[in-house]
């Protein structure tokens, strides 16, 4: 199965390697570098690369490449999913997964890699069990080491593994809390006339559960039929959902993603934002650029962190723009224009106060006028609103006697580059 793993940084240095079977020489990475060289964008590297004797499967995330070496037929998604799971695990352990954090914690990294794969076959991948076996680094222990000068960790792993794989059996909190973040991402393409070409909603329920003991939670929606296609955390009882449309589960401890759902194109959603644009290139190395952004159907909530990003054609030399709100920058090398608008209040409905940016584009002299207008990428966030209208009705807890604090938060947002306006 997974034979070896190399962790490679952006500079192309394989700074960590782990072999579960016979050692594979680092030179295998050359095939990867070769593929990397062919691509301008790191995203374009094909995820599976075949070499004469091995197969390389790589993922790119957080500016790191994880390259797995295989020798046999195996479902590639199995490996990709697993590599991402390793990345998630590191993020969980170290707060972030970067070259620095991996290097700093190389002993833990190595122990983890040893525990999750047994000669290339997945062994334990549940974070909760792993945390019982291998303690994550924390400040307290570092301080203790510093004071006592003793760096050995004498605690034996507990004898008993929890029987619910995702939950340790001895959780205790003084304040019992359960938070549910309902996050929805809009995925949309809007054409130059403002009509919606496609729109989808991808939603998640991310939980932060800090409850003692073995709580059994039930989450009811006001309108569960809205959810089109769902994937569940393994803790959710599928049959309960199928029969009653409630989420019933014994939660893992801490942060996790309970479900993710998808609401597809059939029912078009109302866009909370609109952009009026006027971009024109004129003969003689100049052009006009004007954008107006306004809120639309936001249920009285304001748009926050509104950012418009726009990659200009190569022949644009510079943009001299003045925004009525926020800040704009233009990177003349990458040709990226970023307009950071900030918050747009819904009250400013009359168009005079809407955030506007206008100014001139300077083209490189002698170059032909660009044939097409650039695409605008918009990102924003709306708090206390789930754009699909999904609402949680109630959350009940069984199995424990205390009274927890329960809270639900709704956020509508946009994943980078998934909300595009063609101009």
């Amino acid at each position: 199965m997974i034979h070896s793993l190399f962790i490679i940084n952006e500079a192309g240095d394989a700074f960590m390697e782990k072999h579960w079977k016979t050692v594979v020489s680092k030179s295998i990475c050359d095939y990867f570098y070769e593929a990397q060289k062919k691509c301008v964008n790191p995203e374009d590297i094909p995820p599976v690369i075949a070499t004469p004797h091995h197969y390389l499967i790589n993922i790119y995330r957080n500016n790191l490449y994880f390259v797995a070496v295989l020798t046999n037929e195996i479902a590639p998604l199995f490996v990709i999913e697993f590599l991402h799971r390793i990345m998630d695990l590191f993020e969980n352990y170290f707060g972030e997964c970067t070259e620095k954090s991996v290097k700093d914690n190389y002993v833990i990294v190595y122990e983890l890699l040893d525990e999750i794969l047994d000669s290339g076959l997945p062994l334990i991948t549940e974070t909760n069990i792993l945390k019982e076996l291998i303690k994550p680094p924390n400040l307290l222990r570092k301080v203790a080491h510093f004071v006592t000068g003793d760096s050995t960790n004498t605690t034996l792993p507990s004898k008993q593994l929890s029987n619910i794989p995702w939950r340790p059996f001895d959780v205790f909190y003084r304040n019992n809390e359960a938070f549910f973040d309902i996050i929805e991402e809009i995925d949309a393409i809007i054409d130059q006339n403002g009509t919606i070409v496609m729109s989808e909603i991808q939603g998640y329920i991310d939980c932060c559960i800090k409850l003692s003991g073995m709580p059994d939670l039930t989450l009811n929606f006001v309108n569960p039929r809205l959810l089109d296609d769902i994937s569940f955390h393994p803790c959710v009882r599928l049959r309960k959902w199928e029969s009653e449309h409630v989420l019933s589960f014994i939660p893992p401890d801490g942060n996790f993603r309970l479900i993710s759902y998808h609401i597809a194109t059939q029912n078009t959603i109302c866009m909370p934002i609109y952009v009026k644009h006027h971009i024109q290139y004129r003969e003689g190395s100049s052009g006009r650029f004007e954008l107006t952004v306004g809120p639309k159907q936001t249920m009285g909530k304001s748009l926050e962190n509104v950012i418009i990003e726009c990659t200009m054609p190569k022949s644009v030399l510079n943009c001299i723009l003045t925004p009525s709100q926020g800040k704009s920058t233009f990177d003349p090398i990458k040709k990226i224009l970023i307009w950071n608008i900030g918050t747009i209040e819904t009250k400013t409905q009359n168009s005079a106060h809407l955030p506007t940016i206008r100014g001139n584009i300077i083209l490189v002299t002698g170059q032909p006028i660009p044939e097409s207008n650039p695409i605008l990428n918009i990102s924003f966030q709306i708090n206390q609103l789930a754009i699909s209208g999904i609402r949680v009705q109630r959350v009940d807890m069984n199995g424990e006697i205390y009274k927890p604090y329960k809270g639900v938060k709704y956020i509508t947002t946009v994943k980078k580059g998934r909300f595009q306006i063609r101009t």
Partner: protein, 998 residues
């Protein structure tokens, strides 16, 4: 001593810097070791580590081990430390031990003799009471790859397979594959062990056992038969990685054990969209070789059990299910995978790429399943280049007469994309659409011609190439376009485009007879600077013109041929030689030369515009080979369906008495095995005090996970608290998180009503939907078919147990209290609450009753009517005792309510009780009270009926009762058992089997 001191000082600085400093420090120190010039330092450096390892302080050893691991992690050689490290395998410190294990796994293979020193320690650890230590010892022992210890490994595995801890058994299953890799001759013995592991009852082990099976003996399909049904039923609960392995194995199994569900449809294409009629399809056909197709119940079981996995968060699982459906399911059912695959498009870029590639493959064969989701494949400008290409490919595949206009409009924007490669691919895609959908050919051609006037070269070139191909399909109509293209020959510089234009001129020179020789003249001038591909076309052009118009072009052609004769490329030289012989030196091969015109100007078949990326359809969907387009090591094709189904009875777990229906027999066997296994379990527990703790806890917790039955106490309290909160909390607008309870306050009253309404109406919707898309969700329709005959507000709960019952056949491992068992238990009334009935016989009775239900032989009166529950005991009731029971007959006053009988008994010796009446319901549950009882003499029992609307919940109903005009101090509580919410329903054998078949 000197060195030791130094290491100590290092240590103190290390400690001072914390663990982060450690790695840096070791970095600096190991760095020079790679260069030979400071070999002395290198030597000293390792000496330093050795000293630390030899010391008797654990923290020194640990520090040394950490640094060594750091070296390994960077890929630096630490082999010479082996003797010093291996000694520490006996260390009592877990942390050190773990790191030594890591080291051993890395280097043992290289230093086998020294590694043997550690074996004794592992053998000792294998007997450790701590399961984690046993497991890790086995893991290391099997991972050190030293051939001399094969026998020790074998023994260890054999022991571990019967270990009490499932975790150790899982490790043992993993070790099998490793041992097999080390010594393939042990296969026979290992197969026996695998057979044992496959029968393991713990979900933790199943995945690894199947993995070992796939590694060692994938051809021994006979080992699966006995476990097939259990694996199917447990699949949902197994860990994600195990699911993938098992799904792949089951796909293969299904292909070898069941007949092709689509086979008969091949003869009758028109009916394969109609779903229901599977069985009736061939009734009117009387040809002999066509049999009525009835899907094997096990085949159906597989499809049913894998369907929920489409909702897994793990993309590999979803893909494995999609693969299974693609290869095993009837065509009408494949479409359920579409939605789930689309969901995965939102995952990481790598996953997206592979899913899209798979969709390309599936869409090629089953267009219709992705057609509704066309828009999901629209390209975002920041998709990766591979993703863009796959999306384009899918859009092209899905294009048909009805959606082509939207797709073309979308393509128009792609052509303008700043990603020129992508734009070129789009043009190619437009060409494909134009060639397949004749309605739009004209429009596409015009669009492409317009593109030729763009400034960008790649776009122009691609358009020319595509137009050339389109023209070939129907050349006569497009004289103008041909002329237009010919004029462009000077402007276009991209070789492939130039070549295309030249070919066009040669082919249709009769229509541009004046232009053609002129073009040849220009080309002759620039011949030597052209690319090979262009040169070839110049030669072609020359030859064709010579045939048609020898007079004008004779000299030019000679000149071109001469140039080609001295070309550096041998292909060009060959081509020139051939053409020269054919046309000019006619005496060399007179027979051919006679036909030169026919040869050169033969009408060529129009090319089929094909996908650029669809080239490896021969590999199984979703495999590595499929993705890389070449056969990977260890790849095996899926077997074809057998023509005649192999004997299905091999999968029967235990053949008891031959009964008429197979389903009944398997059910029966399951009950017996279940009971015996439970007994067995008990005895094990009694004997073996060791396992007691672990296993019992396990059971308890698993019970908790799957508890579905009444969980009364807490809920009641919750409710009360909820009510309290209603008064206190009103608005939390300021808070980021909405407090849920506060919210529920506002809704709680109207909600109840709404819910009733909505459940009714939504059901109607559902049934409407079903009529439309029947084949979509089989099981659901199955359930709601049941529902319709039931009272509306019971439906949702009823649906569930009925579906579980159909699934519930076979062995249920005693260690696993699965959901289904809990349901049954609730159905029977939990044993703890039953007052006067012995548990075991009741169970048997009820199972018999279940059989009765199926076969329509017994009636409701057989059901446990005798079971009574205490509601008010005589001490708190001061002589009045109230019991209740569920008569399981419909409640007359309201169909929504459950009929409950209350038995009032006056247990006092001489006091009469007067005027017992229903006061009010305390919970939110509707209760229809009973008529007042005026007099209850001592020693007499009176039975009354009440109706309770549990509203499909298992929350207990509580209410107050007055007697002698006093309130009874405690309110009465009636527990609701899930089973009591279900209305009985009788199915005869045939109906039952039909439902099962769905």
């Amino acid at each position: 001593m000197n060195i030791n001191e130094r290491s100590l000082t290092t240590m103190s600085t290390l400690n001072a810097q914390g663990s982060r400093g450690t790695s840096n420090q070791s970095d600096e120190q190991t760095e020079p070791s790679t260069t030979l010039s400071i070999f002395a330092l290198d030597y000293k450096k390792h000496e330093d580590l050795k000293q630390m390892l030899d010391s008797n302080k654990d923290n020194l050893k640990l520090e040394a081990m950490r640094r060594i691991i750091g070296m390994i992690a960077k890929g630096k050689d630490a082999a010479d430390l082996f003797p010093a490290v291996v000694k520490n395998v006996v260390s009592k410190n877990m942390e050190i031990k773990k790191l030594v294990y890591v080291y051993l796994m890395r280097y043992a293979e290289e230093q086998q003799d020294l590694a043997l020193l550690s074996i004794a320690t592992f053998q000792r650890a294998l007997k450790d009471p701590n399961q984690l230590i046993r497991a890790s010892a086995l893991r290391v022992l099997s991972s050190i790859r030293v051939p001399t210890i094969v026998t020790i490994m074998m023994l260890a595995i054999r022991d571990a397979v019967s270990d009490m801890s499932p975790y150790v058994r899982k490790t043992a299953a993993n070790a099998i594959a490793k041992l097999y890799a080390l010594d393939p001759e042990l296969k026979d013995e290992l197969v026996l062990i695998i057979a044992k592991l496959l029968a393991d009852k713990t979900i933790l082990v199943n995945g690894s056992a199947v993995q070992a099976f796939e590694h060692v003996c994938p051809e021994r399909i006979d080992l699966i038969h006995q476990n097939y049904r259990r694996l199917c039923n447990l699949l949902v609960d197994i860990d994600e990685w195990g699911q993938v392995t098992i799904l792949n194995m089951l796909t293969r199994y299904a292909r070898s054990q069941f007949v092709d569900p689509n086979k008969i449809f091949e003869d009758e294409k028109k009916s394969f969209y109609e779903d229901e009629t599977e069985q009736n399809i061939n009734e009117d056909e009387d040809s002999l070789d066509k049999r009525t197709y009835v899907m094997d119940s096990d085949h159906r079981l597989l499809l049913r059990c894998t369907k929920p996995l489409l909702q897994s968060r793990n993309s590999a699982v979803v893909m494995a299910v999609a693969q299974l459906y693609y290869y095993v399911a009837p065509q009408s059912e494949i479409q359920i995978v579409a939605k789930s695959l689309l969901r995965l498009l939102r995952h990481h870029r790598e996953i997206q790429t592979i899913i899209l590639k798979s969709i390309v493959f599936i869409a090629d064969k089953h267009k219709q399943i992705f057609e509704p989701y066309l828009k999901s494949f629209y390209v975002h400008s920041n998709d990766s280049s591979l993703v863009k290409r796959y999306k384009l490919e899918i859009l092209t595949t899905l294009a048909n007469a009805s959606n082509i206009s939207t797709i073309l409009r979308e393509f128009q924007t792609y052509v303008l994309s700043s990603d020129k490669d992508f734009a070129a691919h789009t043009i190619h895609a437009i060409g494909r659409c134009a060639s397949t959908i004749s309605d739009v050919t004209e429009a596409c051609l015009n669009g492409l011609v317009a593109l030729m006037s763009k400034k960008d070269e790649t776009i122009v070139a691609e358009s020319v190439v595509v137009i050339k191909k389109l023209l070939q399909i129907n050349p006569s109509q497009y004289n103008e376009i041909i002329k237009h293209i010919v004029r462009m020959v000077d402007k276009v510089t991209v070789p492939i485009a130039r070549a295309s234009i030249l070919w066009l001129i040669g082919e249709y020179s009769d229509r541009i007879s004046k232009l053609a020789p002129d073009v040849l003249r220009k080309m002759a001038k620039s011949f030597i600077d052209e690319e090979t591909i262009v040169k070839h076309q110049i030669l072609n052009l020359a030859a064709k013109l010579y045939v048609v118009n020898a007079k004008q072009t004779h000299l030019l052609v000679q000149y071109v041929f001469n140039l080609a004769k001295y070309d550096t490329n041998y292909d060009t030289r060959d081509k020139a030689r051939l053409l020269r012989a054919l046309l000019i030196q006619t005496d060399k091969c007179p027979t051919l030369s006679k036909h030169a015109k026919k040869i050169l100007l033969a009408s060529k078949p129009a090319p089929i515009l094909e996908s650029i990326i669809r080239d490896h359809d021969q590999y199984t969907l979703g495999t590595l080979s499929f993705v890389i387009g070449q056969k990977a090591v260890g790849y095996k094709d899926l077997p074809d369906f057998p023509l005649e189904p192999p004997d299905p009875s091999v999968r029967n777990v235990e053949i008891v008495t031959p009964l008429p229906s197979q389903n009944v027999s398997s059910r029966k066997s399951s009950t017996t095995t279940r009971i015996t296994s439970r007994e067995k379990k008990k005895s094990v527990n009694d004997e073996n005090f060791y396992s007691d703790e672990e296993e019992e806890e396990e059971e308890e917790e698993e019970e908790e996970t799957s508890t579905e039955g009444p969980d009364t106490d807490n809920e009641e309290e919750e409710d009360e608290e909820d009510e309290k909160e209603k008064t206190t909390q009103n608005d939390n607008d300021t808070n980021e998180y909405e407090q849920l309870d506060a919210q529920s306050t506002n809704n709680i009253e109207p909600e109840e009503e709404e819910k009733d309404e909505s459940s009714g109406s939504s059901e109607e919707e559902e049934s409407e939907q079903e009529e439309e898309e029947d084949d979509d969700e089989e099981s659901e329709s199955d359930e709601s078919a049941d529902d319709e005959k039931l009272t509306p507000n019971q439906s949702s709960i009823v649906a569930k147990p009925s579906s579980t019952l159909t699934v519930s056949d076979y062995t249920i491992p005693a260690t696993e209290k699965s959901l289904l068992e809990m349901d049954l238990e609730a159905f029977l009334g939990a044993p703890s609450t039953s007052t006067n009935v012995q548990v075991a016989p009741v169970k048997n009775n009820i199972f018999d009753d279940l059989h009765g239900l199926e076969s329509l032989t017994s009636t409701s009166s057989n059901l446990v009517y005798t079971k009574q529950y205490d509601c008010l005991n005589r001490i708190t009731g001061q002589g009045l005792q109230i019991q209740y029971r569920f008569p399981r007959t419909p409640f007359q006053q309201s169909p929504n309510m459950i009929h409950v009988e209350l038995i009032f008994t006056n247990t006092t010796t001489n006091k009469d009780i007067h005027s017992i009446k229903f006061y009010k319901s305390k919970s939110n549950i509707n209760i229809q009270g009973f008529n007042q009882i005026d007099l209850l003499p001592s020693g007499v029992s009176i039975v009354t009926s009440i109706g309770i609307d549990f509203n499909d919940k298992t929350q207990p109903a509580s209410f107050d009762i007055l007697y002698d005009d006093n309130l009874i101090p405690t309110s009465l509580t009636i527990l609701c058992h899930v089973g009591e919410l279900i209305e009985q329903k009788f199915l005869n054998d045939q109906q039952f089997n039909q439902n099962l078949g769905k």
